[in-house]
Amino acid sequence: MATTTAQHDERMIQESAFRKILRRPEAGAAAGAIAVWVFFAIVAGDSGFLTLKGTATYLELSAELGILSLAVALLMIGGEFDLSVGSIIGAAGMTMAILSGEFGMNVWLSMLIALVLSLAIGFVNGYMVIKTKLPSFIITLGTLFIFRGATIGITRAITARTQIGKVDLAPGYALARTIFASDIPIGDAKFPISIIWWLVLAVLATFVLLRTSWGNWIFGAGGDPNASRNVGVPVDKLKIALFMTTAASAWLVAMIQGINFTGADVLRGEQREFFAIIAVVIGGTLLTGGYGSAIGAVLGALIFGMVKQGIVFAGVDADWFQVFLGAMLVVAVLVNNYIRKRAAEARK
């Protein structure tokens, strides 16, 4: 049987590099992203999908969803849902727009107030999930409507409108625009800075997940919260922190949009919660938690952007986008399950 030390095990050689890649949660999404790109390169290559401008268009869509889906991925790996992220985008954007657009407050101060509000909302979501022990699906389905309704109600009560502009007239706007909504020109195309935010956060999320104790706790809390608690993982604190992180990512998306459009709409961010979950699931994260990756969420958001813009380039009516998206979600889950099963079985 065992010798004293076994640095090289003859049984290890059997695993090829290819199978190692297949074992990663995002393997299916990577193949999917390539397939979607190739598909639209063939179908819509002539009409602009392959140009720099076309690339910038779909990357902008991907980035705004991707920032959200990274935080949602961590939360879902940690075993919880947040259906209220779309409403938090609305609330955060409107807070900033009312304070700066309506009352002329310094943009940086209004953004800070919106951030504090978003973190408080995230805390409330997390605290209620922990305290009531109800599924987060139910709690955040409730807060999805509560926060959206409150945003509409309060906005109307203060301003009698549902759209607020003129944020660009408030002090501090110029610098905020540079940081949140400037463009980086490459060739004839302008790549929005949100892509940089997206990629930086992707590196950060991957680092946290794979290289820190927090990452280990996230996998543990999602895989088996009781077992994790028994070995000393602060599961409750961790989950509340994940809800707050998700809320913060919604805030960032709201700021990027609010600064870019110089205002906000009470309905902004609607359906984002579903798109974010779809991107995360396409990226190979398990709905039940305990398994997944941030890179997968990046690829999921990339696929989302490519399909949404690719359809337009292909000349298909954009109404059909939702059909594609829904079908892709189901196919992605089937493929991911298949790959995961194959990869696990092959090792026995």
Partner: protein, 283 residues
Amino acid sequence: MTNTAVPAVEVRNLSKHFGSVIALNDVSMSVHYGEVMCLLGDNGAGKSTLIKTLSGVHKPTKGQYLVEGEPVDFDSPRDALARGIATVYQDLAMIPLMSISRNFFLGSEPTRKLGPFTLFDHQFANRVAREELLKMGIDIRDPSQPVGTLSGGERQSVAIARAVYFGAKVLILDEPTAALGVKQAGTVLRYIAQARARNLAVIFITHNPHHAYAVGDRFTILKRGRTFGTFTKDELSREEMVRMMSGADELDALSHELKEFERADRLRAAGQQTEVDQALGSS
């Protein structure tokens, strides 16, 4: 580190009541370092209550609980862990989709500094997980493979190795062989022997007398909440133990009953319905 006269863990005249239910009544047992003490008993004999009391989940209603000769009063499993008493439960607390080394260090992650960052030290985790399992006599292919790819026996050994690595001096194993096949159970029994060789005190709970007899030094038999007796291996043959555990009288009655069924079946097959009725009536 020697097998001294003071037991690692001892309970004296321990009782535990849940309302009007007497789960344990005047139970005494002890285990020394370098010894495997088997706790045997049928379902409902009080095994679970006893180990939950030992591991700090329950507080005894009456009686003494001594660790290395000192009376202790644990408020939680954490207190017991701090005294080096670790319990490996049947359901293991392993997360199947996480890697072996991630599971091994969950909640006590090894870290190293890289500039301003504190990193999970994967190299250390993988190396230690592999070495600790090797000490238990299990050679895993790759510590970064998911725990779900391990067999039930191997998972048990990861849980045991983890407890030992994090300073357990007394191991309480709750039916580690119950859900396992013959070969896998053999693996776990080997780890129990390994743990004894490393001078740990092991309390091994089982209702399989064959598993108990293979590794046990002493045997405490629980029956209906009472200690039925503690025996050394010399005092007790395997056959006697089987009879004692299952209740010899009950077994005799059962085999008699089974014989009757067998006879009834044979007769029915021969179509001698009247004889069947007679046979059943007379038994």
